[in-house]
């Protein structure tokens, strides 16, 4: 069993298990399709793609030419001060150029490299000067007003978007109810209609479920009745979830009542749908509207600006506690306003961060300065550690926390805590020094990342000489505290970055350079795949086209000074890419995928019950009901073959072998339990015998009434049909024992044959 088998050699039941695993993962495995059909499909795809290919392949180059022009005209690159970002961008572009050297990317690379050089030479250290805390904080009020205005703008825009989405939703709902009314008559075409709607909602689970059901119907695994049930129940529920997702993403966060009003359906249905969507991690609660919870789509990433804002808020709150008098009231009031703002931002979910950048950056600088001022106005004792940290120019916020800890800490040793306990000075020493070590290391990490851009644990280890496990610990801790965010990966390591509010220029450069690489890779792969299109490459083709299509979608949103760059190119290519993607998707669903190479060993790790449950929850049925072993009792068997006839999987068979010696071991009681003629037959045989048979009788042909039941456990899906159908006395001659441990079943199966 140790030797790995490819999917093709896998026993059918295994394959079904795998199918389920793959279906849950969104992949498909089919292999019953003949090779000729596969080649035919591939040839069709190739001939359909070829006319589209030239323009698709040409579009990235043309776009980046335009982009280069636009950057030169607007001089946005010179406006970028984030070195990390520039470094990252140049490395992307270098890779892109190494794949294909085109005018646009090469030009971008050159201008960015020179911008980076400029930036590195004028590295200056700014001294911090002592300042008056009141005057420092004075702009905060204005800045908050400014941000409030911007957020109100966001909300108006979101409202408008919701308004326009409203009509889309209306048409979606009306075509949905139309399709629903056709389900009873013809579930298959109703399913087609629903699928079309599904693509509008872009809700993954629905698309997967409907495709699976459709395939099941096509292959005859799902009968008509079942199909009707699945379409009218499960599919519809998934589509409802899809519509909810549509509302949440296009019309913003909503309460259940609001959604049910929008969808014109009962709020209990919506409630149920939302609950399962929360369980799936698709929806989360972001606030309360009076008493009703407001739900929002779970965002893949929270906008960095929200995180920055949150941090500023915390920082200001902290400062406020150290202040007294009017200024304390002022800070308190600001904090309250900011708390409300934060909630509004969270409800908004996604928004255009660039407009917020300026105000937010000023606010951050202001609060940073105020923190400095607070630190200086209350100078600490001549603690070596504190000096060290301050001189190291550590993150203001971190230093502030440190200062409080160092100031209040000694009290724990000299006085008592609220419970009257005293702290052992030695323990305090140890605690303090490890705390300081931690803070010191975390501070260093934050500074490095802030200055040099996103870094991995490996990079940080090299730069700081802090042991790797500690770095990782700090990174995770700071990520949880939202001091860091993950920013993609590099060579298999996660990249960490501080939350930054990107300017339009930064966003444009960052996006464009990373897309430059992705698009170059994808188009060169697509080009080479297309030259000799093979069935096993279909997945790669789909992926490459997908990257091109998604890249295009992102570029359309990219603006320089408010204008979309290369709009004509992008719009011109839109339909072509889209149809190329859907063509290749369609072909992929028709032919067997060649990945992933799953081995039997992989399967042994599968948690069977959970996969079955999950699949059932998603599809409403599972092609495999479980794993089990079936015990056959000859003393109750009538040899009638009913089990074999009833078995939906052809897993059980009456073999023409008559285990005649076993009937001599059947107790008289069990004999009397058998139907009368069967019992008489055995008794007559025993009455005639002069010796107990030693060997089984191998019959030449199938002989009605005689035989040995054998179960092919590779095929058995543990549906229990045979057990239920067996007409033998008592509970029948068959007994099914469900087993969940895959390795155990495999051992059983392999030991027999």
């Amino acid at each position: 069993m140790s030797e790995s088998k490819s999917l093709d050699d896998m026993a059918p039941k295994r394959r079904r298990m795998m199918d389920m695993v793959l279906a849950l993962g969104g992949l498909k495995e089919e292999s019953v399709i003949p090779l000729s059909k596969v080649s035919e499909e591939i040839a069709n795809l190739k001939s359909e793609l070829e006319p589209l290919a030239t323009e698709i392949l040409a579009f990235p180059d043309a776009y980046f030419e335009h982009f280069l022009d636009a950057t030169e005209k607007s001089a946005i690159i010179s406006r970028i001060t984030n070195k990390g970002l520039l470094k990252q961008a140049t490395s992307y572009l270098q890779q892109a150029v190494s794949i294909r050297d085109t005018g646009g990317t090469r030009g971008l690379l050159n201008s960015m490299s020179s911008a980076l050089e400029v930036l590195e030479t004028k590295d200056e250290i700014e001294d911090t000067a002592a300042v008056n805390i009141e005057s420092v904080l004075s702009p905060v009020s204005d800045l908050i007003v400014q941000i409030e205005d911007i957020v109100t703008g966001y909300e108006v825009a979101a409202e408008a978007a919701a308004e326009s989405a409203h009509s889309e939703l209306k048409s979606l709902l009306s075509s949905m109810s139309e399709a629903v009314s056709g389900i009873q008559g013809d579930p298959t075409s109703a399913l087609d209609a629903l699928q079309k709607l599904g693509t509008k909602t872009r809700y993954g689970p629905f698309l997967r479920t409907s495709a699976q059901v459709k395939r099941g119907i096509r292959e005859g695994r799902i009968d008509e009745k079942r199909a009707l049930h699945l379409v009218s129940e499960n599919i519809l529920i998934e589509l409802r979830r899809g519509v909810i997702m549509f509302i949440l993403s296009k019309m913003g966060s909503r309460t259940v009542v609001e959604i049910s009003r929008l969808m014109d359906s009962h709020s209990s249905d919506i409630q149920a749908a939302i609950v399962s969507m929360i369980q799936r991690g698709e929806v989360e609660m972001v606030g309360l509207d009076e008493d009703a919870p407001v739900f929002s789509r779970v965002l893949e990433t929270v906008p960095d600006s929200t995180l920055v804002f949150k941090r500023i808020l915390q920082q200001l709150n902290g400062i406020g506690k150290s202040l007294e008098g009017d200024i304390h009231a002022f800070v308190d009031q600001s904090v309250r306003r900011m708390e409300f703002l934060l909630e509004r931002l969270q409800k908004l979910g996604q928004y255009d961060e660039t407009t917020l950048a300026e105000a937010l950056n000023s606010l951050r600088e202001t609060v940073d300065q105020a923190t400095e001022a607070v630190l200086q106005s209350k100078p600490a004792d001549s603690s070596e550690d504190l000096r060290l940290l301050v001189s190291a120019g550590l993150e203001a916020f971190a230093r502030f926390r440190l200062k409080i800890a160092l100031e209040k800490g000694p009290n724990l040793v000299s006085g008592t805590n609220v419970y009257g306990e005293k702290l052992d000075p030695e323990v305090y020493e140890r605690m303090m020094s490890s705390y300081l070590d931690n803070e010191l290391e975390r501070g260093t990490i934050l500074i490095l990342i802030r200055e040099l851009g996103a870094m991995t644990a490996k990079d940080l280890g090299e730069k700081t000489n802090i042991p790797k496990d500690r770095i990782l610990q700090h990174l995770l801790r700071m990520k949880r505290d939202e001091l860091l965010t993950s920013a993609g990966e590099s060579h298999g390591y996660l990249l960490y970055d501080v939350p930054r509010t990107p300017t339009e220029a930064e966003l444009a450069v960052e996006t464009a350079s990373s897309l430059a690489l992705q698009l170059t890779e994808a188009s060169s792969e697509f080009e080479s795949l297309l030259q000799e299109l093979r069935a096993e490459d279909i997945g790669k083709v789909v992926n490459a086209l997908d990257v091109l299509s998604k890249g295009r979608d992102k570029l359309v949103k990219l603006t320089i000074e408010g204008n979309v760059v290369g709009k004509e190119i992008l719009l011109g290519i839109e339909e072509k890419i889209r149809s190329a993607v859907s063509l290749s998707y369609r072909t992929r669903t028709k032919i067997p995928s060649t990945r992933p190479k799953v081995t039997l060993d992989d399967l042994a790790e599968v948690d069977v019950p959970s996969v079955l449950d999950e699949y059932k929850a998603m599809m409403g049925y599972a092609p495999l009901l479980g794993f089990g072993t079936i015990e056959w009792d000859i003393s109750k068997c009538l040899g009638c073959k009913s089990c074999e006839i009833a078995c939906p999987e052809d897993a059980i068979e009456l073999k023409p072998v008559f285990e005649v010696s076993k009937i001599f071991d059947i107790s008289d009681e069990a004999l009397d339990n058998l139907p009368v003629n069967r019992s008489l037959f055995y008794k007559t045989v025993k009455g005639l015998a002069t010796q107990k048979p030693t060997r089984d009788i191998v019959l030449a042909d199938d002989s009605p009434g005689f035989g040995t039941v054998e179960v092919d456990l590779w095929l058995c899906v543990a549906c229990r049909t045979c057990v239920r159908r067996c007409p033998g006395p008592d509970e029948g001659a068959l007994e099914l024992e469900l087993k969940w441990s895959l390795p155990e079943v495999v051992r059983q199966i392999t030991s027999k044959h």
Partner: protein, 721 residues
């Protein structure tokens, strides 16, 4: 109440060399025997009167030891029925053909006769009266298909006094025949042939013609079928109650679109033979592509027929069709040039004459195949391989005519799902028995006529139709059918639902009914079934009885206990000194063979004891083992030839299984497997039986005493390894 039965011994005019005094004395001593009467002419009036008297003695039980029941039974039945007496409890013992005439030694023959009479007494003791009730059924038959066969059956049935509904899928009656320009061998056109029948149909008030009507499915039994159909004026499915069904949906011409070399479906000038017939009938003999006249015609035979890929056998009609159509072409255009590319020309019967005529009229016959058809400059090109000359010919005909295979019409398989008739491998309806029952199907009350069973010429279809009408009349008796008669009767309470009967019944009579109510109450969530057997449809072979593990289904004239007590009685006193061979014989081929052995006075050993069963399939493994248990030295089954079981085909195969398993079991439990065997026979070769019985008697002697004789049977626990 007495359980004794009177015995009538017939001397056959005092010419049987049996010891009647011995028989009379010995029979009188038997517990089960009542009066013993010796009569010289049981089959004559005086004998029949005696029998009628004896019938009154013991609740109609009677054993008649005389000649073969094949001869005497019908006479006695008829006589007793005319007196209103019950003849169903009479057991016959053939002491003439099966004993007196085949054994030299009268005392041995007498002993054998006595044993068999003893057996019959045991069987008759437990017999039950079989009362045949009659049932009134609608005097109505439904004919599906309005072609020549369907119309002819409808007319014949109407003449026999039935009301008929004729359902036709198309908008008009006539089927393929009206499209044929000439019907061999009459020389008349299809329309002409059909017109008189159409007129008769119109004038016939007993026949209701429904066109544009499609039969969806049919449920029920003979006398009470319910046809579900859709008619054009109403979208809803309607039903029609009817007593019998005539399947006459004819044939479908194979459309060779998938055979690339003919370019059929791509080139409009490539047509099938039937399409050509239509063109000729409608008098539009022009090129379908451009309407230009047709001068050059290439016909291709065996398109799809005699091909492993499409239709394996010959379609029988196409050669004649092609010749008819070529003559028709020449009739209209004497300058036309017709080439027929053939593999073999097969024109049966008088059609040979038109083949000859066509050769004289200049039709060109080329032995070979077409290798390809292609188009160039609006001309059709054909390349022909001439296998006699071994060369390729190329021509540019105006018309290429493909003699396409004849396939069963659509929907035959679908209808069979509910109607339960069997299908041939090629999709045609299978007849009940190829030799003698051609128009009947496996299902009682369903007959198949015309091309639905095999390709047929018009005159064959007409003959078929007339025959089928009579066959149905024989079953329906103008509306009075037998309700319960001889056959399997199910005791539902004993049925465990194993479905062995339903799986193996040669006629598909038992139906498995799911017991949904019981399932709901069942705690173990069992899927529960019970069989349902309609004795009316049963042909009394006893296969279900042989296989039933619970004895739930049994023939009402030969129950398990009847046969087992007969076996025991026949073998009374059997020992190793005079080893007995038991022969179960079927009352189809085997009884005929054994009777002929008797009439030819062929001799065989008298240590044989013959036990009749309706079909070899009735003999279960228990019956075989019982014979050994009661002292038989060897046991054999005499059955019909392979594939010629008269009861639908598989009874003898079930018997073979019992024999094979019994042999294996005997070997396994310390016996000799050779003590049991199966022999197939038919009446034309009587020595098959004598050879068989000699072999089994020889084995009985050579193998010596059985463990039963030696007293070791059942002592397996004491046996040392």
């Amino acid at each position: 109440m007495t359980n004794k039965s009177p015995v009538l011994l017939c001397t056959c005019g005092k010419q049987l060399k049996l010891d009647y005094d011995y028989l009379e004395t010995e029979i009188s001593k038997l517990d089960l025997a009542g009066s013993v009467t010796v009569h010289d002419f049981g089959c004559q009036d005086s004998g029949l009167e005696t029998i009628a008297e004896l019938i009154g003695e013991s609740e109609a039980r009677l054993v008649i030891a005389a000649c073969t029941s094949q001869k005497i039974q019908p006479r006695i039945d008829q006589y007793l029925q005319s007196l209103g007496k019950d003849s169903s409890r009479i057991a016959y013992v053939n002491i003439r053909e099966h004993s007196a005439w085949v054994h030299k030694d009268p005392s041995e023959a007498s002993k054998k006769s006595l044993d068999m009479i003893r057996g019959a007494l045991a069987r008759v003791e437990d017999s039950k009266s079989i009362v045949s009730e009659t049932k009134e059924i609608p005097n109505h038959v439904t004919v599906i298909g309005g072609g020549i066969a369907g119309v002819e059956t409808a007319l014949s049935l109407s003449n026999l006094g039935y009301r008929v509904t004729l359902m036709e899928r198309e908008s008009s009656i006539g089927g393929h025949v009206v499209q044929l320009p000439v019907i061999a061998p009459t020389g008349k056109s299809g329309k002409e042939i059909f017109s008189s029948r159409l007129k008769a149909l119109e004038n016939d008030k007993n026949i209701d013609v429904m066109t544009n009507t499609t039969v969806k499915f049919i449920e029920g039994e003979m006398g009470d079928f319910l046809a579900h159909y859709i008619s054009p004026d109403d979208e809803d499915e309607k039903t029609l109650q009817t007593s019998a069904i005539v399947l006459a949906t004819g044939f479908k011409e194979f459309k060779p679109t998938m055979i690339d070399e003919y370019h059929y479906g791509k080139n409009p000038d490539v047509v099938t033979q039937l399409e050509l017939s239509r063109m000729l009938t409608e008098d539009r003999m022009v090129r379908p592509s451009d309407g230009k006249p047709v001068n050059e015609v290439v016909m291709v035979q065996c398109v799809g027929s005699r091909s492993e890929d499409y239709k394996r056998d010959c379609s029988k009609l196409c050669c004649t069709f092609a010749i008819d159509n070529s003559l028709e072409i020449l009739e209209r255009n004497p300058d036309a040039n017709v080439q027929v590319v053939y593999m073999d020309i097969r024109v049966p019967f008088e059609n040979e004459m038109i083949y000859k005529e066509s050769r004289e009229r200049g039709v060109d016959y080329i032995r070979g195949r077409i290798s390809m058809v292609w188009e160039n400059d609006n001309t059709t090109h054909v390349r022909i391989y001439d296998s006699l000359l071994n060369q390729y010919l190329e021509t540019t005909p105006d018309l290429v005519v493909l003699s396409s295979a004849i396939l069963p019409s659509d929907g035959v398989a679908e209808l069979s799902e509910t109607l339960g008739y069997a299908l041939e491998e090629d999709g045609h309806v299978k007849d009940l028995y190829g030799k003698l029952r051609r128009t009947e199907t496996r299902r009682r009350g369903v007959v198949a006529v015309g091309a639905i069973t095999r390709p047929q010429f018009v005159f064959e279809a007409v003959t078929d139709a007339q025959a089928a009408a009579l066959v149905l009349h024989n079953e329906l008796h103008g509306g009075k059918i037998e309700k319960v008669a001889r056959g399997a009767v199910l005791n539902v309470d004993d049925c465990v639902g194993c479905s062995l009967c339903a799986q193996q019944c040669p006629r598909g009579v038992p139906l498995m009914i799911e017991q949904t109510d019981a399932e709901e109450e069942d705690e173990a969530q069992k899927i529960l079934f019970k069989a349902a057997i309609d004795t009316l449809n049963c042909h009394s072979c006893g296969v279900c009885q042989s296989l039933c593990p619970s004895g739930a289904t049994q023939l009402n004239f030969l129950s398990n206990s009847q046969l087992w007590s007969e076996i025991e009685a026949v073998l009374e006193g059997a020992d190793h000194e005079y080893p007995i061979t038991v022969c179960f014989y079927c009352e189809e081929c085997s009884v005929s063979t054994i009777d002929i052995v008797g009439t030819q006075r062929m001799e065989y050993p008298a240590s044989s004891r013959l036990i009749p069963v309706p079909c070899a399939g009735r003999v279960s493994i228990i019956d075989i083992l019982k014979a050994f248990e009661h002292g038989a030295s060897t046991v054999m089954i005499a059955a019909c030839e392979k594939d010629r079981c008269h009861i639908g085909g598989t009874g003898n195969e079930i018997a073979q299984v019992q024999i094979d398993v019994a042999r294996d079991i005997l070997n396994a439990i310390g016996w000799k497997g050779e003590r049991v065997d199966m022999y197939r026979m038919f009446s034309a070769e009587p020595d098959r039986f004598t050879n068989a019985i000699r072999e089994m008697v020889k084995r009985a002697q050579e193998l010596g005493p059985t463990p039963v004789h030696k007293g070791t049977a059942g002592k397996w626990m004491e046996a040392v390894e």
